[in-house]
Structures are given as structure tokens and as C-alpha cells.
């Protein structure tokens, strides 16, 4: 029995992060198992006016290609998606993305709460939510909603975070199943992968 007590019911992983999360994300993506069986949907705070460069920088390091989805694009397993600059990224019933230019939430667009919240609505207990380092409380409510819908919640260990506001917001908002260092999150992905083989 692995330490994470995993099974293969999950349909998607969502990851939120902000200030100080880039290195962690890179480490996770560069250590993903080959043919990872789930879609990974990332909402990371980023400069609104810089559309190019970020996804390319992540793609170079990632085992799987990272793309910014188009509005109404179908969500496919084994793909990594990144919320585009200056749009909210939402998940719709029917397993596809929608984009929105609605008002900023928590001073952010893309807002992590929105990506996490819509994903929780669609995937219910088949969702894994991971919140990393960040200097803003965005994501706390989204993690709470994932927990309420029966999903699995993970935050980066605040002690390891460059800025711990974001994981602490989640820890005070809801029950977090695992508080992990980045190396342990990498291990988690490997364990998860094994459930699908």
C-alpha cells in the first residue's frame, strides 16, 4: 500500500500557483511519468499583457507538451493545459474548456478559484487539486469547493514555499489531504500513474 492510498477513479488534476511556484511547476512537469493518464490543468498567475513565452518555457521542461487551450477545446487525457494570459479558464460539463474575460477575482485573471471551482463542479470526487506557493489568497476557496465535492486536496508544504500565503489560505479554508514538498508531489504523480497501469 502506498502512502497516498490512491486509486484510479480520478479524471483530472488541477494545479494553482502564483509567486514562487514556477520552479516547483517545472520540477513537477519535468518529472512526470511517460504517458501520464490524466489531463493536468494549470492556472498560474501571470502578467496580463505577456501572451507569449510562458507556455514555451514550460513546454521545454515538461515531459508532456503544454498548451494554452482555445475556448470550447475538448479536454484530453495526457495533456497539460495552461490558462492563457488575461482570460479566466473554466471547465464545462461535457469535458471541455471555456474562456472568459469576466471581472478579475482576487485581483487576478486568470483566477485560480474559478478554474478550481468549475473543475470541482464538473469532476466532483474525481478531481485532484494542488495549490502551490503564492502571495495571494486566490485558490483557497477553490480548494474548499474541491473538498466539498469529494475531491482530493494537496498543498505545497508552506515551509518549502517561497511565499506561503496561498497554501495557508487553503489550509485555513478546508481540510487538506496532503501537505507535501515538491519532491513528494513528484512521487505522488508517480504513484498515481501506477494506479492506471
Amino acid at each position: 500500500m502506498s502512502r497516498f492510498k490512491l486509486n484510479n477513479r480520478y479524471k483530472a488534476v488541477v494545479i494553482g500557483g502564483s509567486a514562487g511556484s514556477f520552479q516547483g511547476i517545472v520540477k513537477i512537469l519535468s518529472n512526470l511519468p511517460q504517458d501520464f493518464p490524466l489531463p493536468i490543468i494549470m492556472c498560474l498567475h501571470r502578467l496580463k499583457h505577456v501572451r507569449n513565452g510562458f507556455v514555451e518555457a514550460l513546454s521545454i521542461k515538461s515531459i508532456m507538451e503544454v498548451t494554452e487551450p482555445y475556448d470550447k477545446e475538448n479536454i484530453k487525457k495526457g495533456k497539460v493545459y495552461l490558462a492563457p494570459a488575461n482570460y479566466h479558464l473554466c471547465i464545462e460539463l461535457g469535458n471541455y474548456f471555456s474562456l472568459s474575460t469576466e471581472e478579475m477575482i482576487n485581483n487576478s485573471r486568470p483566477a485560480i478559484d474559478l478554474t478550481l471551482g468549475t473543475a470541482a463542479y464538473v469532476y466532483r470526487d474525481k478531481l485532484i487539486g494542488i495549490l502551490l506557493s503564492g502571495a495571494n489568497r486566490d485558490g483557497g476557496l477553490g480548494m474548499k469547493y474541491i473538498k466539498e465535492r469529494g475531491g482530493l486536496t494537496i498543498v505545497q508544504d508552506p515551509q518549502e514555499c517561497m511565499i506561503d500565503t496561498m497554501p495557508n489560505a487553503a489550509l485555513s479554508a478546508t481540510t487538506i489531504d496532503h501537505v507535501l514538498k515538491i519532491d513528494e508531489i513528484v512521487e505522488f504523480f508517480n504513484e498515481l500513474n501506477k494506479q492506471y497501469k
Partner: protein
């Protein structure tokens, strides 16, 4: 996180459809749901109270104003505006002396003014006729007034600098009553009209239609309908510009367009 039943959403759309002939049935579900939740919050209403208020026609304008997303910027995606200035508009000018432009879903008018500034700096503002439409009459009044929050101008100015305009954005507005008021002469040739993309008929032919980040609030059925209307509203070889993260790939009518600029999502009608 607050929720609302899909059954309640359906009751609201049915009521608005039968009573006022606005059809939100094919709006994208998650954003429409958020807009309804937002209305409930802003007006401090329950679903039942909202339905009651919607029976009063005086509430309709408030409803339409909040249902539509009115978040926009001047020169949003500066490279897009450079493509218009350097490629698209010159290409239209080769064939037409007079250019007809439609801003479909113009919201508070930031893109209408951006276009006017672009055209003025090209020295062709007088050769252009522009129609700007929106579903929401309140927001059309904002667009006509060209009065924006001063705090938004910082972002607008940054966008304009990235666009590499020939002047300074501050030349085009004055501060009054805490607002940035755009120069009205920019919109002398603009006709603002109320128009609903869902129910509205095709009303004219254009060389260029801008409809950026509007169809993201529609489901694919409605996107297809609206794109058919845009196709019909374009002259052959006319251009359609949509948001940088929208795509025609999935649409029935895609084969009647070619991609002119994939990064900025500018399409050209090549078949009637």
C-alpha cells in the same frame, strides 16, 4: 462556493425569452450561471425574488447590463491592432475607397475608440463608416459618452505604447469629473445601435467585423448561428477578427474562411 440549480437557470431563461424575446438558452452554461449569481448578489435577491423582479419590465435593463460581460480595454492585444494597421486595413483599401466596419458586441466602446485612433493616425478616419452594436442599451450610452474610469487609462496607455501608435494616448482624452473623456470627433462616423446577435437580423454588408471575446459566452450551437450571420454580413474577401483564444476550427462555416493571421485570429471570407 454558491450554486444555482440548472432547473432555476432554465426558469429564468424561459421567462426572459417569452416575456422579452431575449434568448439566453444557448449562452455558455458556466459563465451564464456566474452572471445570474452575480445579479443575485448585487441586488441581494433570491432566485424567486429575481423571477418576480423580472416580471417588471423596468428591471430588464439592469438584468441585461449584468448578464453581459462588460470588461474590456483599449488596444487589448496590441499586436492585433498592429496587424490591423499594417496588413488588414491596407489590404481593404486596395479594393475599397470607403471602408465599412462593424463592432459586434462593442460593450463600453474601448475598441471603437481604439479603431478610431488607429484610423485617424492612418489619416483615413473620414473614409470609414462604423457601426457599433450591443445588446445592452446602458453600455451603449457609456460607449457614446466615451467617459472611462481614470484608473483604467494606465492599462490603456500601456497597451497603446505597445501598439506603437504615432502619438500619445493622452492627446485623445481630457480629464473631467474624475473620468477620462475621449475626444468625440473620433466617433463622428460611428453609429451606435442596439442589436442582439442571437435574435437580430443581418442588416448590412461590411469589409471588417470585429467580434472579440464575445462568442466565448455562447455555446457552440449559438457560435455557429452567429458565425453564419457574420459570413452573410461580410463582402466577399471581407475580414472577421475574433479573440486571440477563440477559434473557427470547429464551426460549420469554417471552410468559407481562410486564416489570414493565426496568432491574432483574423479570418477572410473566401466563399459566398
Amino acid at each position: 462556493m454558491k450554486e444555482i440549480d440548472i432547473a432555476d437557470l432554465k426558469r429564468i431563461t424561459e421567462l426572459v425569452k417569452t416575456k422579452y424575446n431575449y434568448d439566453f438558452t444557448n449562452y455558455a452554461m458556466s459563465s451564464f450561471k456566474r452572471r445570474i449569481l452575480r445579479i443575485l448578489e448585487i441586488h441581494n435577491l433570491t432566485v424567486e425574488e429575481l423571477i418576480k423582479r423580472l416580471h417588471e419590465s423596468s428591471f430588464l435593463d439592469d438584468f441585461l447590463n449584468e448578464i453581459t460581460v462588460n470588461v474590456t480595454e483599449m488596444f487589448r492585444d496590441p499586436p492585433f491592432w498592429r496587424v490591423l494597421r499594417d496588413d488588414i486595413i491596407p489590404a481593404i483599401l486596395l479594393n475599397h475607397q470607403k471602408i465599412r466596419i462593424w463592432h459586434a458586441g462593442c460593450s463600453s466602446g474601448e475598441e471603437v475608440f481604439s479603431m478610431a485612433i488607429l484610423l485617424k493616425e492612418m489619416g483615413i478616419l473620414e473614409n470609414v463608416s462604423v457601426i457599433a452594436t450591443d445588446l445592452d442599451t446602458n453600455i451603449l450610452e457609456v460607449a457614446k459618452s466615451g467617459a472611462y474610469n481614470l484608473k483604467n487609462m494606465e492599462l490603456n496607455e500601456k497597451n497603446y505604447i505597445r501598439y506603437q501608435g504615432t502619438s500619445s494616448l493622452s492627446k485623445y482624452y481630457k480629464e473631467a469629473n474624475g473620468k477620462a473623456v475621449l475626444d468625440k470627433s473620433l466617433i463622428e462616423n460611428v453609429s451606435f445601435r442596439k442589436h442582439d446577435l442571437v435574435k437580430g437580423e443581418v442588416f448590412n454588408k461590411f469589409d471588417l467585423i470585429l467580434c472579440r471575446n464575445v462568442m466565448i459566452y455562447f455555446n457552440q450551437t449559438l457560435q455557429n448561428d452567429v458565425l453564419r450571420k457574420f459570413h452573410e454580413s461580410l463582402f466577399k474577401y471581407g475580414y472577421l477578427a475574433i479573440g486571440s483564444k477563440e477559434s473557427l476550427i470547429w464551426c460549420d462555416i469554417a471552410s468559407k474562411f481562410i486564416v489570414v493571421n493565426n496568432e491574432e485570429k483574423v479570418y477572410k471570407k473566401i466563399k459566398d
